[in-house]
Symmetry: C2
Subunit: 226 residues, 2 copies
């Protein structure tokens, strides 16, 4: 992915060639980067001519350090990549509403979950989940992406009666208007193309939804979490 010039420049920077002069021979450099001594020599000459490094020959020992230009070159690449990895991308999920068997509502009225959701999401969830069946190519992959990025954790829990499975959530925007959360329950009988959504309000009322209506979910995901 990096040219030889790039690899050498990066290697020199990693070795501390930013702050001080590195005593390194073309032979050593070639060994480290698994290239020939000749190539190392030639590329150093080119980097020097391009003003990206400076060399000095003190007696037999040669030393190398990056110039400001050389550091700038690396910095440019760094900022490009930084932008890619630190700018959230919007992933859009699309699917159709359908009715479940009311398990969502069942779980949400269990005090443990109700309390946890309110604590972690900052709202008291309406006691019912909206089931959405994703459609179209690529949707399941996107769902996996979103699940991977889901960063709000509801821990599993057990009391003397039974155990409660955990879940992961992530905030989303439904139909471009309403703040909701997608729930990925640890134990679910739904297949991978289904997601469950909760919100502080009744989403069916809010959007006048009937089974089969299409809805969209926009999720902001940082690529570094993928």
């Amino acid at each position: 992915m990096l040219t030889i010039k790039g690899r050498i420049l990066l290697f020199l920077a990693e070795q501390g060639g930013i702050a001080r002069e590195l005593p390194i021979s073309t032979v050593k450099l070639a060994e480290e980067l698994k290239i020939s001594q000749q190539t190392a020599s030639r590329v150093l000459i080119e980097l020097e001519r391009a003003g990206l490094i400076e060399r000095a020959g003190i007696g037999r020992k040669h030393v190398i350090k990056l110039t400001e230009e050389g550091l700038k070159e690396l910095l440019e690449m760094y900022t490009s990549l930084k932008r890619v990895f630190e700018t959230p991308v919007e992933v859009e999920l699309e699917g159709y509403v359908f009715s479940g068997l009311g398990e969502g509502a069942y779980y949400l009225q269990i005090p443990y979950y109700a309390r946890k959701f309110e604590e972690k999401l900052g709202f008291k969830p309406y006691p019912g989940t909206l089931n959405i069946r994703l459609t179209g190519r690529d949707q399941v992959l996107r769902r996996l992406m979103v699940e991977k990025a889901a960063d709000i954790e509801i821990e599993s829990f057990s009391d003397e009666r039974r155990s409660y499975g955990g879940a992961k959530c992530i905030r989303a925007l439904m139909n471009g208007e309403e703040e909701v959360a997608i729930i990925f329950a640890e134990r679910t009988h739904y297949p991978k193309e289904v997601v469950e959504v909760i919100a502080p309000i009744c989403l069916r009322e809010r959007f006048k939804l009937r089974d089969g209506d299409k809805v969209t979910l926009k999720v902001r995901v940082s690529p570094i979490n993928l």
Copy 2:
């Protein structure tokens, strides 16, 4: 600095190819990256074979997206660069102590400066500066580097009588033992090979220094500030 594969992968990521399928032709891609259409086509084939991207031809329109592998590839480069730019490097300055004309002491007893230094550095400076003349090749460049990274600002100031010049400071470790600060005064009559150091204590006493004694200053600098 990036190979064509790298440039194309980065471009696709920048265009949002992480989260969704991009509709982009080899002609457009070639234009954007200033390469030939043929090269764009060939490289896409290679990237696809390497498992870094996925393509789908929906009718005439072709779409491209990065695979997890492709994103991982970029992430590796990103983490290498991140390490380089976010790991502080230690810059070592070396020089000989000499006596000035007492201006350091003069300025440090001016209440404005005394107060400012204490506020910004977190210690009450001993009323006197230690003057150090840097020696050896590369030292002046290092000094410039350190000055550029100096991030503690003492603002200039004026009252009815006169104006007080500003300064920039940076923390350093003298002789590997004592926490000090290097002062880069805006107005100084010293040449570039001289730095002035202050500390909460009398450094001359602490290290039993006499004129001509050698001292070192270690400064931690984040490469991103250079």
